[in-house]
């Protein structure tokens, strides 16, 4: 059930990218889409009744490995969040520069290149 909710979030983001007319709303929809993917990725590593994957000095490694949720998707999500941040910074800078040049945030008016 929760997997389908994260897929729904991805689809909502994709809908936003396709339909939005404001460049900043396109960027926000992209961020929502990425959040959905990150949620999906973390959920893949879930184990019912699991512990956070942080090692204590007291717990033996074998017991820990049987109890903890999978830390690999969490590492992937951290990397992906950083990548998303880089893309977001670039896109927002592009939006600001586009406003400076074209005077509008409306994507349907920023259409000098065609054919």
């Amino acid at each position: 059930m929760i997997y389908s909710l994260s897929l729904l979030l991805i689809l909502v983001g994709l809908y936003g990218v396709i339909v939005s007319r404001n460049t900043l709303k396109i960027v926000i929809s992209l961020v929502i889409m990425e959040h959905g993917v990150h949620l999906l990725l973390i959920l893949v590593g879930y184990r019912a009744g699991g512990q956070p994957p942080i090692v204590d000095p007291e717990t033996a490694m074998a017991v820990f490995a049987g109890q903890a949720v999978d830390p690999l998707p969490q590492a992937l999500v951290l990397t992906s969040i950083v990548i998303g941040l880089g893309v977001l910074a670039l896109l927002v800078a592009l939006c600001v520069r586009l406003y400076e040049r074209y005077g509008t945030f409306d994507v349907t008016e920023i259409r000098r290149l065609r054919g």
Partner: protein, 161 residues
């Protein structure tokens, strides 16, 4: 209207509270960076929190308020230095005997797990990353804020006859 130190940005209460809070936020960010190999956190999360301290100053007091504590040249240099530190540690692994890129060359004996000085090169890499991320995010925020202020000033000049 000349931008004055006391009239720019938000009110005096916000600026005072921001000035008091920046130390605590910085401390929390440094804790996240340094203890990244024991508790969740690490270079990236700690770097984001450190940059939040300076971004809070910029939000509260205007662009110059934030830049007074962390000038653009310093953040540019720290940016490159953080990444160079990270890469230097990575390259160090290749010249150790039988080493590979990113090899952990300063690992300690087993009893020292879970303390601050365990983990070998990981805390050093975290520090490099933390510096880089903090300065990068602060620079991005300042430059985008400067755009907005420049556009506002241009609009204001157009409005006044």
């Amino acid at each position: 209207m000349k931008a004055d130190r006391h009239t720019e940005g938000m009110g005096i209460i916000v600026k005072t509270v921001a000035r008091w809070l920046k130390g605590f936020i910085l401390l929390y960010g440094i804790y996240l960076v340094l203890y990244g190999h024991i508790t969740p956190g690490g270079g990236f999360a700690g770097g984001v929190v450190i940059s939040c301290a300076f971004i809070l100053l910029t939000l509260a007091g205007g662009e110059n308020h934030g830049l007074r504590f962390f000038p653009k040249t310093a953040s540019s240099t720290l940016d490159s230095m953080g990444l160079l530190l990270f890469l230097a540690i990575a390259w160090l692994g290749t010249w150790w005997l039988g080493g590979a890129f990113f090899k952990n060359v300063i690992s300690t004996p087993e009893q020292a797990y879970f303390t601050l000085f365990s983990g070998g090169t990981i805390p050093l890499s975290n520090i490099g990353l933390g510096l880089k991320v903090a300065s990068s995010l602060f620079l991005v925020f300042t430059v985008l804020a400067a755009f907005r202020l420049a556009m506002d000033a241009a609009d204001k000049d157009e409005d006044e006859p």
